[in-house]
Amino acid sequence: MLSIRNLDVEFHSDQSRVHAVKGISYELSEGQTLGIVGESGSGKSVSSLSILKLLPSTARVSGEVFWKGTDLIKETEAAMRLVRGAQIGYIFQNPLSALNPVFTVANQMVETICLHSDATKEEALEEAIELLDKVKIENPRKRIHDYPHQFSLGMCQRIMIAMTLSMKPDLLIADEPTASLDVTTQKEILELMDSLKEEYQMSMILISHDLGVVAERCDEVAVMYLGEIVEMGTPKDIFGSPKEAYTKILIDAIPKIRF
């Protein structure tokens, strides 16, 4: 379904150039979950943002991103708008900063739903309330009219998930969806995403620096280091018999509890 070949991203500024992603390739078939792990700055987010062409104008992107048979790199902005959200959903790391602080949740969800369907505002509001209920926000009929800052971070991430699901994407890119949350909330959000992935039959790219998160729920794992995929395989291969030195370091870095 998604096939990335030689994706290369370079950032240019007056003084310097940064080679953030160095010709990576991977494939993702329908219903699969791909995990991308690596340290900060290894190019996980940049490579994913470039699938949707959401990088700033200083980025030079080359390579091929085949999505359902078309190369997204060559697509126009207008065509990309039909892919963004409706076909590929993106969930950001910090949910609070991904919501506009000056509008209520209802306002932003209704806007999103109306954009991708012919629903009237009333219908869209009803749908939004149902979705909030589905992501387990308590008392959604009342809370939907609150502003983002009135929710906790975990709840904001639930709202972002609900908003992304309202567009019924075929592929969900989750960019460290739980990195800014505490451990218990993290678990709840991940379980929620697992069940919703099942229900909506989506494929998923899960970006994380937490190997435990990735190991449990991915069909395949890619390890990124300095803009390259250094190792790729099933979680069993990667964690059972890591070949690359960097993968071993990553696995060693998982905190172990000893008594």
């Binding site: 943002l49 949707l52 959401l54 700033p56 104008s57 902005e77 708008r81 039909l82 892919v83 963004r84 959200g85 409706a86 959903g89 993106y90 950001f92 910090n94 900063s97 991904a98 919501l99 506009n100 602080p101 000056v102 509008f103 806007e111 999103t112 954009l115 991708h116 972002m160 908003m163 992304t164 567009m167």
Partner: protein, 274 residues
Amino acid sequence: MTGKVWFSFIYLGGLTVLALLVPFFNFDPTQIDESLIGRPQAPSFAHWFGTDELGRDILLRSIYGSRISLMVGFVSVGISICIGVIVGVLSGFIGGRVDFLVMRVLDTLMALPTLFLILIIQVMLEPSIFNVMVVIGVTSWMGVARLVRAEVLSMKERVFVTACRARGIVERKILFKHIVPHTLNPIIVAAMLGMGGAILIESVLSFLGLGVQPPHASWGNMLENSLGYLRDAPWMALIPGVLITLTVLSLNFLGDGLWLLLDPKARERDVIHT
């Protein structure tokens, strides 16, 4: 909120109410008392602020003068904000070479001395209050444009804008619905400060005889009239002078107060300083 902000708020509110209501009463600010020509009367119960050289009531003329000042403030700031917001928003959002070019044009325009430009236009055209408002508006939008541009530049890098794009929202809607409301705070503050400046320029022009023409009253031409009577009737100069000072200062205080109220970061800085 400090005392001076409250004072400014009440003072400007009172002035606005008086200015709006005075035409509904049957007072004529141009009515001449022939028995008093050439003999300005000091403030008394009959004339609270005294009379001028033609026996006209200064209180009434002051209130009519405030109508001119406030109108000039509102209209010219309205014009300058309209132009400034449009230029600033587009320049900041489009960015790149367009932004660079617009900013250099702004620098050039900012280098022009506003007052002299207005003087030239008023001399060439018939002096009228309409010209004053338009010219002040058209020559003072650059500051607003800069403020708005800076805000748009910082806002368009925020994650929620990328998140909007990731949901497939059209650029135009991202700009006008999601970015522009964030520029409101600096606009409100700039409007307050701009009104003070506009009122001052109008007074200067009227003082020089290039603004509001006699017999109509404006604080500037009341000051000019008082010149020949400075020793015998100082209240003729003091009253419009104090009014101009208070009004401009109040607008500045109110602008500062609103800035502190609207910008939480500014409030923190203020706490540290005091």
